[in-house]
């Protein structure tokens, strides 16, 4: 064994610089794994540790309705349970805020209101700027606590006033850190704390308004799980959610562990790319080491010992690469801006031991697995080649051992992927996908190389020889095309998709499309509001009646659901729907079965004694097995409505400018009696002054109404897309860097052959310029082929994602792809030229003597 160690050390000593270069590619992948896992593990550990602080209570029960009707006694049962030690009410809703008292910028902003009582919260009180401790006194009697962004936007400070739904509130403090999360969904604005009694006094919680009513429970320490279950049992069948910090802890742990595992696959893919580089260089090294292997065999070394020597060499170079990867990860994490770290909900991120161990293990395994197959060739090296020069260039033979070894390596790589993803399915998908993509890219690269073969007959000398060089023995063409092409593909695919998505949003926000949505308009506010906004809108405001209801029965041809319980058992149409009524189809709707009414129903009931008619959306009708002629029963906030299905509509959801509805009622006296609000759709255009003016105008007549600015929401979406694009672009760029490293290494590997060729060319009269142009054209062609491969893949991928996943119209981005191909071509040519500089300056005599 000592011989193996000593020989491995001596071999490494002479060639480590050349070989370690390839392990830098592995290092980049390892760094990616370590960074991703470290960040997510830190976030997970912090969040699960702080789960109780994030919930603010032991158990929370919440609903979108007030605790009235049948919910009231059930809630009373829960809070009366002896295991419940205390409870407090919280209500969350949205409203428009603006500076009051003549101060500030005069801006308007949708804010998330949280109304709280004195007992709030049981855990994790908001931290107030200036180091003051939070007390309920800060919000009592029309006080409020705000986030710093809002004060900055409004140009206000503590002590100034903000108007909420027409009532002035005094800013009593600024929340520096608030760990308690909102009840669900996305925040549409900054959070503002008010006293619950003050919130109830505002006209914001009327029937039909968008509010979340929560009750926070503090329970005996050992009863969290039991009380959670008890509350769930009590509210079974109601749209009441029950959660606890324990369930949050589980969910965070589960979700983040899944994210960690799946994101690690990104790193794994990059390590595999590095592994392909290792495979490629090992293959060349084996070719170059054939004589040494033969000598060792002549001196009595068995194949096993020779193989062990080179495997050990790969092993510790890989270990060096992995160590470098961990160092790179530590540097990357240290360089993370504080803003990003805080946005993750943690205070600091460093390399975690488990992430480092996993990264190193994956790097080592992948390196050894990829090196194994080419290294097995040393078994075939015959010592006879030392006597007979004609046996040196032995043709690589595929033996059953190498086939078995390749199969074992593939299985082992799949197992590593499965281990990383902690999922058989994801691991197999990724390893299978990588294998398919790699084989496809290698296949395409061969086709492309074959396609440019006719250029080898070109009359242009440098071009002819550049194309011939692509097929030189031990060429790295396939590997370079694979690695550079893959990086180019990542970057171009995500950029193409980004341009498609942004274009789609811009189309949706056409000149006359509604761009301000008003919610919670009460029926008596509809006409005054319509009049108030009329001077500012490009077309009359569209006010759509909105009722909230659930399906509680169907008497149909194909399905008979007598009760709500039957509907639940069927598993379709179980959610609460937003329902409207009107006498005409919207522009994005068409009838596919039956007929849509054109007039309201004036009689109190239909001839067959029902309340009205209903039209149902096609997909929902198919899933719920509802047909034209069926009778459906709805519960509209406690009022039961019976309606016959008279039409089935197709709805183009993407083109819904006034929202989209699954159920539309025929207007009728019974429908009008149901509780309803209106949603307003206003088309304002991009003028910010008009937008502020119209919001002032409607707040004057309807102070409770909230406005969602579609332009702002789209801007946020755009930001999210930009961030996601940036993330994937970074991955693509790192892949490209890996590709360039492999390119540089590949140039180094074929350097001796190139030096010899260049020396021959020089003796035949070629100058440095001619040789440089041959090299530049060779790598330019390589870059062009890689760029074409990447761009083609990006085209296909952006089409597949646009039409399959995002369901948007696909637009190719030829300009972007062309620029991508050009940049790749130039980059590869320049890198190839720089890496080949020694070939250009070396004197021919020295090289030829050396030969």
């Amino acid at each position: 064994m000592s011989f193996v160690f000593r020989m491995a050390w001596r071999e490494t000593r002479s060639s480590w610089g050349r070989l370690l270069f390839f392990f830098v590619c592995v290092a980049i992948g390892v760094a990616a794994i370590v960074v991703l896992r470290s960040v997510i593990q830190t976030v997970r550990n912090t969040l699960t540790r702080e789960a109780r602080l994030i919930v603010g209570a032991d158990v929370v029960v919440q609903t979108q309705r007030a605790w009235t009707g049948d919910l009231a006694p059930k809630l009373a049962t829960v809070v009366a349970d002896p295991r419940v030690l205390a409870h407090t009410d919280v209500v969350e809703t949205q409203t428009m805020a603006q500076p009051a008292g003549g101060k500030g910028t005069g801006g308007l902003r949708l804010v998330e209101l949280r109304g709280i009582e004195a007992a709030y919260p049981y855990y994790g009180a908001p931290e107030i700027e200036g180091g003051r401790a939070y007390t309920h006194e800060m919000v009592a009697n029309h006080g409020l606590l705000v986030q710093p962004d809002l004060l900055r936007e409004f140009g206000l400070s503590v002590g100034d006033q903000i108007s909420l739904a027409g009532a002035p509130f005094t800013v009593r403090g600024v929340v520096a850190r608030d760990r308690i999360q909102r009840s669900g969904g996305f925040a549409l604005g900054p959070r503002v704390y008010v006293d619950l009694a003050d919130l109830r006094a505002l006209p914001l919680l009327r029937f039909g308004s968008r509010a979340t009513h929560m009750v926070l429970l503090r329970v005996s320490p050992d009863a969290v799980v039991d009380v959670t279950q008890f509350a769930r049992d009590t509210f079974r069948g109601d749209t009441v959610g029950v959660r606890s910090w324990r369930t949050l802890e589980d969910r965070i742990g589960r979700n983040l562990r899944t994210s960690e595992n799946y994101l690690s696959l990104v790193g794994f893919a990059m390590v595999v790319l590095g592994g392909i580089g290792v495979w490629s260089v090992t293959r060349v090294v084996v070719q170059q080491k054939m004589r040494s292997v033969a000598v060792l065999k002549c001196l009595g070394a068995t194949s096993g010992r020779v193989l062990a020597t080179y495997l050990l060499q790969v092993g510790w170079l890989a270990a060096g690469g992995c160590g470098l990867g961990v160092i790179l990860a530590a540097i990357a994490l240290a360089a993370l801006p504080q803003r990003v770290i805080v946005s993750l909900g943690v205070t600091a991120v460093g390399v975690t031991p488990s992430a480092a161990a996993q990264g190193i293990a994956v790097g080592l395994l992948v390196s050894l697995l990829f090196a194994l197959v080419p290294l097995l060739e040393v078994r075939q090296v015959k010592p006879l080649l030392l006597l007979r020069a004609d046996t040196v260039g032995t043709v690589r033979r595929r033996t059953w051992q190498s086939v078995v070894a390749a199969a074992v390596v593939l299985v082992a790589l799949s197992l590593v992927a499965i281990w990383q993803a902690d999922s058989w399915r994801a691991g197999l998908y990724v390893s299978g996908g990588l294998a398919v993509v790699s084989l496809a890219l290698l296949g395409v690269s061969r086709l492309l190389v074959a396609a440019v073969r006719p250029l080898a007959r070109s009359t242009h000398f440098p071009l002819r020889h550049a194309v011939v060089s692509l097929r030189r023995p031990n060429n790295q063409t396939g590997v370079i095309l694979l690695s550079v092409g893959l990086g180019c593909f990542f970057v171009l695919a995500v950029r193409s998709l980004q341009s498609n998505l942004i274009h789609e949003f811009n189309v949706q926000l056409g000149a006359n499309a509604p761009d301000l949505i008003l919610i919670d308009i009460q029926p008596d506010q509809a006409d005054p509001l319509r009049a108030a906004v009329a001077p500012y809108v490009r077309q009359p405001a569209s006010l759509v009646p909105l009722m909230r209801g659930r399906v509680v029965g169907v008497e149909g041809k194909r399905v008979q659901l007598a009760t709500l319980e039957d509907v639940r058992k069927q598993g379709e149409m179980t959610r609460e729907y937003g329902i409207t009524h009107r006498v005409s189809l919207d522009g994005n709707e068409s009838v596919v079965d039956g007929a849509f009414w054109s007039t309201p129903l004036t009689a109190d009931a239909t001839p067959d004694g029902l309340d009205t008619e209903v039209s149902i959306e096609q997909d929902e009708a198919t899933r719920g097995m509802v047909s034209v002629g069926d009778v459906m029963r709805f519960d509209l906030s406690g009022r039961v409505m019976k309606a016959r299905v008279t039409s089935i509509r197709k709805v183009l959801w993407d083109e819904a400018q006034n929202g989209g509805f699954v159920f539309v009622f025929r207007p009728a006296p019974a429908v009008n009696r149901a509780t309803q609000t209106f949603v307003g759709f206003l088309a304002l255009g991009g003028d910010p002054a008009a937008r502020v003016a119209v919001q002032r105008a409607f707040l004057a007549v309807a102070p409770n109404v909230s406005a969602i600015d579609v332009r702002e929401v789209l801007a946020s979406f755009r930001e999210v897309i930009d961030n996601a694009t940036l993330g994937v672009t970074v991955v693509g760029a790192v892949t490209l860097v890996g590709g360039v490293l492999i390119l540089i290494g590949a140039v180094a590997m074929t350097k001796f052959q190139r030096l010899y060729e260049a020396a021959i060319y020089r003796t035949l009269g070629a100058g440095t310029r001619l040789i440089a142009s041959m090299v530049a054209i060779e790598y330019g062609v390589l870059g062009l082929l890689a760029g074409v491969m990447g761009a083609t893949g990006a085209l296909v991928m952006s089409w597949a994602l646009a039409t399959g996943l995002f369901d948007i119209r696909w637009r190719p981005a030829p300009g972007l792809l062309a620029i991508g191909v050009l940049i790749t071509t130039a980059a590869v040519a320049v890198v190839g030229l720089i890496a080949s500089s020694e070939i250009l300056v070396r004197k021919p005599l020295g090289t030829l003597r050396g030969e």
Binding site: F3, L296, C298, G300, A301, T302, G304, L386, L387, R388
Partner: protein
């Protein structure tokens, strides 16, 4: 002792069967020095490769000190070479990544011998390269590289030394130094020396000359009176 019994080597070149060595039998007693001569393509190196176990005969048996090496697999042959055979090549074939000292050390390390470093130093001194041990092959002249190769061939003190055109890549003065070294090893240490050469002057330094042409032994001549020679398989 080296013994070949009806050994032949036939290779396929496409559909054509090419006989490189016709059935040959010969015996070389322990301690003898033998030169195998002949023009290019006569089968000299093939014969040497067969004796070294680097190639397998198509027919016949080869015995080294009574061991039939034709029945051994590659691994066993490697071990046998490490123990019984030292080889000197025309192109030296030193390991380029190792220093001269380490090149001499390697066979002993493979065999797991004790006192390897001392012996390597002694062998380098014996070939007159004590002060060049830390140099890499690329830093040595051709003659120096060949002397290192001889030291390496002697590392495990093998009973048989095989040399393939050991002076073929050297100038005449350096070649003479190398041949003196090999003959000294044969005479002083009593090692069997088989030398492949096309140079009659070089062959004259050995006890006996076997001449090959077109894969057949065409002449066998003794330079000294001593020695036992047995021949067979002649056409």
């Amino acid at each position: 002792m080296i013994e070949l019994v009806e050994v032949s080597r036939i290779v396929s070149s496409g559909s054509v069967q090419l006989t490189i060595l016709h059935p040959t039998s010969l015996r070389i007693e322990r301690g003898r020095s033998v030169a195998i001569t002949g023009p290019s393509g006569s089968g000299k190196s093939t014969l040497l490769g067969l004796v070294a176990g680097l190639d397998a005969p198509t027919t016949g048996r080869i015995l080294l000190d009574g061991t039939n090496i034709t029945s051994l697999n590659e691994e066993a042959l490697a071990r046998l070479r490490g123990e019984k055979v030292g080889i000197v090549f025309q192109f030296f074939h030193l390991l380029p990544s190792l220093t001269a000292f380490e090149n001499v050390l390697v066979p002993m390390e493979i065999a797991g011998a004790t006192g390897a470093r001392e012996r390597a130093a002694a062998l380098l001194a014996e070939v007159g390269l004590s002060d060049r041990g830390h140099h890499y092959p690329s830093q040595l002249s051709g003659g120096e590289q060949q002397r290192v190769a001889i030291a390496r061939a002697l590392a495990n003190d093998p009973p048989i030394i095989l040399a393939d055109e050991p002076t073929g890549n050297l100038d005449s003065v350096t070649g003479r130094q190398v041949i003196d070294l090999l003959v000294k090893v044969n005479r002083d240490r009593g090692r069997t020396l088989v030398l492949v050469t096309h140079d009659p002057e070089l062959a004259a330094f050995t006890d006996e000359t076997i001449a090959l042409r077109d894969g057949r032994v065409v002449d066998r001549r003794s330079q000294v009176a001593a020695g036992t020679v047995a021949m067979g398989g002649q056409p």
